[in-house]
C-alpha cells in the first residue's frame, strides 16, 4: 500500500459518491427520451438530495433505533461496496479487505437492514415490501454467487482485483462461460436494483412496490441517504459488471497516465450502460411478482451453465 494508492482509493470513493446520482439521472433521462417525453434535468437527483437533506425528518411514533440507524448502515454498505470494486485501478488498498463473496455479503447486509427498518414501523406496506425484497434477495444472491464462482475459476481467485487483472491484462482469450455468466449477472442486476421487469422505480402504486414500499416511511436526511444509497448500488453493480465483463481501460497499477485514461473510459462505459438499461426497461413490462422467481431462476440457470461450460470445456485454458 502506498500513499498514492490510498489517495486513489479515496478518489475512487469520492468519484462514486459524485457519479452515482449522475448515473441515476442519466438513466431517467434516457428513459424519458425513449418514451417520447421531455426529460427531467440530468442533475435532478442532486437537487433531490439537496432538498431532502434540508428537510426535517418525520419519524413514526413506533420507530425503534433500527429505523433511524438503517439509512446509515445501508449507505455505509454501498459505499464500502463501491470501495472494493476496482472502478479505476486494480491496485486498491481496500480491495484485499474483502473478496467477491464478501461483496455479496455486504449487499446482503444492506438488504437485511432495509428490510428490518421497513418492518420496524409496522405499516402494512413496509412489511409487504420487506417480504418481497427478501423473496427477490434470496433468489438473486445464489445466482450472483454462481456468476462469481465462474469468474473465480478463470482467475483462480475470488478477489475482484485479481479477477479483473486476469481478464483485462493477460493475453486476450474468449471465454464462452463468460457470456453465460454475463447474462446471469445482467438479470441479477435488474432484480437487485429494483428495475423493470422485477420492480418499477417510477411507480406510485403502493400495492405493487418492492423497494419503494420499504422506504415509504422515510423522510428528510434518512430518505436522502437511502436514495443516495440506491444510486450507489446501481453504480456499484454497473461498475462491477463493467469491471468483470468489460474490464478494458482499468489501470493496472497506480500510474497516473493509466488512471487518466481510466476515468473517461469509465464515464463512457457507464453512459452506454445507462442507455442499455433504459432501453431494456422501456421495452419490458413488469412481470407478476410470482414470475420473479422464474426470472431469477433463469439467471441461476445461466450462471450454472457458465460454471459447467468453464468446468467441462475450458478446463485446459
Amino acid at each position: 500500500m502506498s500513499i498514492s494508492g490510498l489517495l486513489w482509493q479515496l478518489f475512487a470513493i469520492v468519484l462514486a459518491l459524485a457519479l452515482a446520482p449522475l448515473l441515476t439521472g442519466w438513466v431517467n433521462q434516457c428513459r424519458a427520451w425513449l418514451q417520447n417525453r421531455s426529460a427531467p434535468p440530468l442533475l435532478l437527483p442532486y437537487y433531490m438530495l439537496h432538498k431532502l437533506f434540508l428537510k426535517d425528518v418525520v419519524l413514526a411514533h413506533g420507530a425503534s433505533p433500527i429505523f433511524r440507524f438503517a439509512p446509515f448502515a445501508v449507505f455505509g454498505c454501498m459505499l464500502l461496496a463501491c470501495a472494493i470494486i476496482p472502478v479505476l485501478s486494480t491496485d486498491l488498498p481496500f480491495a484485499p479487505a474483502a473478496d467477491t463473496i464478501a461483496l455479496v455479503g455486504v449487499f446482503g447486509l444492506a438488504r437485511i437492514f432495509i428490510s428490518l427498518a421497513a418492518m420496524d414501523v409496522g405499516t402494512s406496506f413496509g412489511t409487504l415490501g420487506g417480504r418481497r425484497e427478501m423473496l427477490v434477495g434470496f433468489l438473486a444472491e445464489p445466482a450472483l454467487l454462481m456468476v462469481i464462482f465462474t469468474l473465480a475459476m478463470i482467475a483462480q481467485s475470488t478477489s475482484v482485483a485479481t479477477i479483473v487483472e486476469t481478464l483485462a491484462h493477460r493475453e486476450f482469450v474468449i471465454y464462452p462461460s463468460l457470456a453465460f455468466a454475463g447474462i446471469a449477472f445482467t438479470f441479477v442486476s435488474f432484480a437487485e436494483n429494483a428495475r423493470v421487469p422485477v420492480d418499477n422505480p417510477a411507480t406510485h402504486l403502493e400495492l405493487t412496490m418492492i423497494h419503494e414500499a420499504m422506504i415509504l416511511e422515510y423522510s428528510g436526511r434518512h430518505l436522502a441517504l437511502i436514495e443516495w444509497a440506491a444510486s450507489l448500488k446501481l453504480y456499484a453493480y454497473s461498475c462491477l459488471g463493467l469491471a468483470l465483463f468489460f474490464p478494458w481501460g482499468i489501470a493496472q497499477g497506480d500510474s497516473f497516465l493509466g488512471l487518466l485514461v481510466a476515468i473517461p473510459m469509465l464515464v463512457a462505459k457507464l453512459a452506454i450502460g445507462g442507455v442499455l438499461l433504459a432501453l431494456i426497461e422501456t421495452l419490458n413490462a413488469k412481470v407478476r411478482i410470482f414470475r420473479a422467481p422464474e426470472f431469477l431462476g433463469t439467471a441461476f440457470l445461466f450462471a450454472v451453465l457458465g460454471l459447467l461450460v468453464r468446468l467441462l470445456l475450458e478446463s485446459r485454458v
Binding site: 428513459r31 418514451q35 402504486l205 400495492l207 405493487t208 413490462a285 407478476r288
Partner: protein, 519 residues
C-alpha cells in the same frame, strides 16, 4: 302495460329518450314480487333512491329502476311518513345493498333487515339527521364524529389485513380498500367509499332547470356529457319535449368524443400500471390532442355545459366537422399501431390475461352494466339494438355495433376499449358527414310536478338521472346514478383469485368513479 305478469301497471314516459316505463307499486309485497320477477327474467337493478314527498301531504317515496330487455321499468313505492321502511332488496339484487344504505343515510327511509351499516355517512352528521329531507335545513355546525366501520373479518392461520387508503400514494380519488390476505394471495376485498360525498343531490333541490343542467354536468368530470345528456333527457321526458335531430346527433358526437378520450387515457394507464411507460406516453399524447381539439371546437376540454335541456348550446360548422373527421383518421391509424404493440407484447399480455376475471353469470347477478358487463360477453349497450330493444334516436339510425368480449379479464376490458375506440371513430365520422340541418334547441316549458328518467350509455356504463319537478317547475329531487355503484362490488369479486400486486391493474381496468357514486 304489465311486465312478467306482475299486477303493476306501467306507462311509457313521454319524450324520445331511452325507453322507460313508469309504474307504482301498491304495497311493498308487490314491489318485492316484481323485483323477484325481474331477477328471474335476467333483469338488472339499475338504480334505487328515495324522495321526501311530505311537503305535498304524502309520505316518502322509494324509487327503484330496473333494467329490462326492452328498456327500464321505473317503480315507485309510497311509504308512510311515520314509519318509512321497506323490505330489503339486497337478497334479490346484491347491488341494492349500498344504494339502500345510502338512501337511509340521506333520506332516512330504510330497508327492514339486511345490512344496516352506514354508507355515505362517515360521522360528519348525526344519525338522526337526513340531509335530503325538506325539513332538514342547511345542516352544518355538526361535530365530526367518525365512527368505527364494521369490516368483515377474515380469520385463520396467517390471514392478515392490509388497509389501503383513503389517502393514496398517487394523485387519485379517495377510497378505502381493506384487503384480507395470506402472503400475496387475496382472500377478500372490502371497499369503503363515501369520502367524496359533497351533497350534490341536496344542491339540486330548488334550482331551475338551467342551473340543474350545469350541476349535472359537474357530477363526474370524466362523464360530463353523459350526465348532462341523461339529465336533459329526464327533463325532456318530464316536460314532454323532443330535441331537434341535429341537436341529438351533436350530443352523440360529444358523447362519443368523451368515450374515446377516456378509453385512450385508460389504455395508457393500463400500460403504465404494468410498467410499460411507453404505452402511457403514447396514449396520453393522443388523448391530449383529442382534448385540445375539444377545447378548440367546443370551448371546453371536457365539453361541459354544451348539452342543455332541449338540445345543445353550440353548433359545429363544416370546417370544424372536417377537422373532427381528419382527427378520427389520424387517431385511428395511431391506435391501430398501438393495439398491435399491446397485443404482441408478451410481458403485457402476461399481466392482462386471466387477471381479474369475472364471468357473465356474476355480471348478471351484480346488475353490472356498460363496459365491464360487455367484457364478460353480455350485449348490454343502450345505444345498440338487441333482442326486444330498439335504441332511442339518434342511435337507431347510426346502427351502433356493440363490442363484446367473452373473457371478462383485464385483457378483455383492454381489448374492449380498443374495439370501442374504433367503433366510436366510425360513428364520429358518420355523424360528421351526415349532420342534418335543423334547430339546435327546443323550448323547454317547465311542467309543474313532472317527472322523468334519463338513461345514457356513458363510457363506463349506464348513467341514469331521475328528476322530479315541484309545482313551480323547479327541481324538487334529482337523483344521478353512476354505473360505478354496480361495478364497485364487481371489483371486489374480480380480485378474488389474484394477488395483491395485481390489484392496481384490475382496478384500473374498471376505472370506476368515486365522485360519481359518492355524490
Amino acid at each position: 302495460m304489465r311486465f312478467f305478469g306482475e299486477p303493476i301497471e306501467f306507462d311509457k314516459q313521454a319524450g324520445i329518450g331511452s325507453p322507460v316505463w313508469r309504474g307504482r307499486a301498491q304495497s311493498s309485497e308487490a314491489m318485492q314480487a316484481f323485483a323477484v320477477a325481474v331477477h328471474r327474467n335476467h333483469g338488472r337493478l339499475a338504480a334505487l333512491w328515495g324522495e321526501d314527498r311530505r311537503g305535498g301531504g304524502d309520505g316518502f317515496r322509494l324509487h327503484v329502476a330496473f333494467g329490462l330487455d326492452m328498456g327500464h321499468a321505473w317503480l315507485g313505492l309510497d311509504l308512510p311518513a311515520e314509519r318509512p321502511v321497506y323490505p330489503d332488496l339486497a337478497g334479490i339484487f346484491s347491488a341494492a345493498n349500498r344504494m339502500q344504505r345510502a338512501t337511509r343515510d340521506l333520506v332516512g327511509i330504510s330497508n327492514e333487515g339486511g345490512d344496516q351499516r352506514p354508507w355515505l355517512r362517515h360521522g360528519a352528521w348525526p344519525a338522526d339527521w337526513f340531509p335530503l329531507r325538506h325539513d332538514a335545513g342547511e345542516g352544518g355546525g355538526f361535530v365530526n364524529a367518525p365512527t368505527d366501520y364494521d369490516f368483515v373479518r377474515v380469520g385463520g392461520e396467517g390471514a392478515h389485513e392490509i388497509p389501503v387508503g383513503p389517502i393514496h400514494a398517487g394523485i387519485i380519488e379517495p377510497g378505502h380498500f381493506r384487503f384480507s390476505v395470506i402472503g400475496e394471495r387475496l382472500l377478500r376485498l372490502e371497499q369503503r367509499l363515501g369520502y367524496q360525498h359533497k351533497g350534490v343531490e341536496k344542491l339540486f333541490i330548488g334550482r331551475n332547470l338551467a342551473e340543474g343542467a350545469r350541476l349535472a354536468g359537474r357530477i363526474s368530470g370524466d362523464s360530463t356529457c353523459a350526465y348532462a345528456w341523461a339529465y336533459a333527457s329526464a327533463i325532456e321526458a318530464a316536460c314532454a319535449v323532443s330535441p331537434p335531430p341535429r341537436a341529438l346527433l351533436l350530443r352523440a358526437l360529444m358523447l362519443e368524443r368523451e368515450r374515446v378520450a377516456n378509453h385512450l387515457g385508460d389504455l395508457g394507464a393500463l400500460g403504465n400500471d404494468a410498467a410499460l411507460a411507453f404505452g402511457f406516453s403514447q396514449f396520453m399524447r393522443l388523448k391530449e390532442d383529442w382534448l385540445r381539439l375539444n377545447a378548440q371546437l367546443f370551448g371546453h376540454r371536457f365539453m361541459m355545459d354544451r348539452i342543455v335541456p332541449g338540445g345543445v348550446a353550440l353548433d359545429l360548422e363544416a370546417p370544424a366537422l372536417a377537422s373532427i373527421v381528419e382527427q378520427c383518421d389520424g387517431v385511428g391509424r395511431a391506435v391501430k399501431e398501438l393495439k398491435k404493440i399491446y397485443d404482441e407484447h408478451a410481458g403485457l399480455q402476461d399481466r392482462f390475461v386471466t387477471t381479474g376475471a369475472i364471468d357473465a353469470q356474476l355480471a348478471r347477478d351484480l346488475s353490472l352494466s356498460g363496459m365491464a358487463a360487455r367484457a364478460t360477453g353480455l350485449i348490454l349497450d343502450a345505444r345498440a339494438h338487441r333482442t326486444g330493444y330498439t335504441p332511442p334516436p339518434p342511435w337507431a339510425m347510426l346502427g351502433v355495433r356493440p363490442v363484446t368480449d367473452e373473457r371478462g379479464d383485464v385483457a378483455a376490458r383492454a381489448a374492449l376499449r380498443f374495439g370501442e375506440i374504433f367503433e366510436s371513430l366510425r360513428l364520429l365520422r358518420e355523424i360528421a358527414v351526415g349532420l342534418p340541418d335543423s334547430g339546435l334547441c327546443a323550448e323547454v316549458p317547465p311542467a309543474a310536478g313532472g317527472q322523468g328518467l334519463g338513461v345514457v350509455e356513458g363510457w363506463r356504463g349506464e348513467v341514469l338521472v331521475g328528476v322530479q319537478l315541484d309545482d313551480a317547475g323547479r327541481l324538487a329531487r334529482v337523483h344521478p346514478h353512476d354505473p360505478s355503484w354496480q361495478a364497485w362490488p364487481a371489483l371486489e369479486h374480480a380480485v378474488m383469485k389474484d394477488i395483491v400486486p395485481d390489484f392496481p391493474l384490475i382496478n384500473k381496468s374498471f376505472n370506476l368513479s368515486y365522485s360519481g357514486a359518492d355524490l
